[in-house]
């Protein structure tokens, strides 16, 4: 299962994973629901190499504002606690792996 983040554990998750990949979503967003299973697979593939988590932007609007999220699904990529990439929109796992530098 992919970790669900909120205001209280977001920062510690980012700090504890040298590579943190966070899928920002909301329940009524169709493309986000399609991204869900892809993120689950990604988490499985990257076990031990990256921390993969989900953030419900509706319940955590402060974090969405902090990272200028304007559209979902959006994937935030942190390396050593620094935001290095923001990937917007539904995309296949292969594209995500490539964007994350895994091929």
């Amino acid at each position: 299962m992919v970790t669900e983040l909120n205001e209280s554990n977001f920062d510690s998750f980012v700090d504890e994973n040298s590579l943190a990949i966070i899928d920002c979503w909301a329940p009524w967003c169709g493309p986000c629901r399609r991204m869900g299973p892809i993120i689950e697979e990604l988490a499985e593939d990257l076990k031990g190499r990256a921390g993969v988590a989900k953030l419900n932007t509706d319940e955590n609007q402060g974090i969405a504002v902090r990272f200028n999220i304007n559209a979902i699904p959006t994937i935030l990529v942190f390396r050593d606690s620094v935001l290095v990439d923001t990937l917007v929109g539904l995309r296949p796992k292969e594209d995500l792996l490539a964007a994350l530098g895994f091929r």
Partner: protein, 294 residues
């Protein structure tokens, strides 16, 4: 309104499905608008027995043929779909409901992109393709909704509840009149004209129209055409492929019993001949499915 089979889409696949389902004595309703079919504006030159003919004419004849077997055309798009107690229920553009025992998805593949400068670079930086998904991020901000159809009207109306200013940019009146008036009554500001560019430094700052008019906004919502095949499929419980296509078996069945798919929505090749072949199979399968429920 009730029917054995609702066909969504009236391009070559939908029309052939309507013909074959009607011939099997199913009561058939057809949703959608011919002009949104990819075949409508095309000249068809590689369809058996048709050396060269405008798609528009083929579709008009196909519709007449389907009507002669009893299919009824609603001339309206589907706005929402759900599966309820073994029936499928659809919300239509004019607010009415249609219920059916079986569904044929013949929606084609929607064109989502406007294809204007700035659109790609500012996606996720103010450019959005889903008002329902992203409305929350625009509380108290200024937005433009771009699109002619009822989906755009519904999105413009939705955005008035979140944004401080909602502009609705359209170049044709293709939306249901009732939905369009609701959007305007809710405060959406209408603009007649085609968008030319989306501009801004790292984020959306303005939408420029072809006549040179500039609308200062923080967000541009692009809502072209009818509700997408992927969204409708999800409403019905089908998980679409990453490219928005829907997997269909040899009998055109999908992962949800009673829902059949044919034509471009099932993937390439995007050809009239393939659409018609699958439409035949999907129409017959849907009629058989509906009859088994009796």
């Amino acid at each position: 309104m009730e029917a054995d089979v609702l066909v969504i889409g009236c391009g070559p696949a939908g029309l052939q499905a309507a013909i074959h389902a009607s011939r099997k004595k199913a009561s058939v309703l057809v949703a959608g608008k011919a002009a949104s079919s990819g075949a409508y504006g095309a000249r068809i030159e590689n369809y058996l027995g048709v050396p060269s003919r405008p798609g528009e004419e083929i579709l008009a004849d196909g519709r007449a043929q389907a009507e002669s077997f009893g299919a009824r055309f609603l001339d309206m798009n589907v706005m929402s779909a759900s599966a309820l107690d073994g029936r499928f229920v659809f919300g239509m553009e004019d607010g009415s409901e249609v219920s059916a025992k079986a569904v044929v998805l013949a929606t084609g593949i929607a064109r989502r992109l406007l294809g204007i400068p700035g659109e790609k670079a500012l996606t996720g930086k103010g450019v959005s393709y889903c008002a329902v998904c992203d409305c929350n991020f625009y509380k108290g901000r200024r937005v433009a909704v771009v699109g002619n159809d009822s989906e755009a009207a519904a999105s413009a109306r939705l955005m008035t509840s979140y944004a401080s200013e909602t502009h609705w940019v359209r170049w044709e009146d293709a939306a249901d009149e009732g939905l369009a008036s609701k959007a305007l009554e809710a405060g959406a500001v209408p603009h007649a004209g085609r968008p030319k560019a989306i501009e801004g430094d790292g984020k959306v700052e303005r939408l420029v129209l072809e006549d040179g008019a500039e609308i200062q906004v923080d967000g541009v919502f692009i809502e072209l055409g009818a509700r997408s095949s992927a969204d409708l499929a999800m409403d019905l419980g089908i998980m679409p492929e990453i490219d928005d296509t829907v997997k269909a078996g040899q009998d055109c069945s999908t992962e949800v019993p009673g829902v059949f798919a044919c034509g471009d929505v099932t993937g390439r090749p995007w050809q009239v001949a393939k659409a018609v072949g699958q439409g035949c199979v999907a129409g017959m399968s849907a009629a058989d499915f509906a009859r088994r429920l009796e």
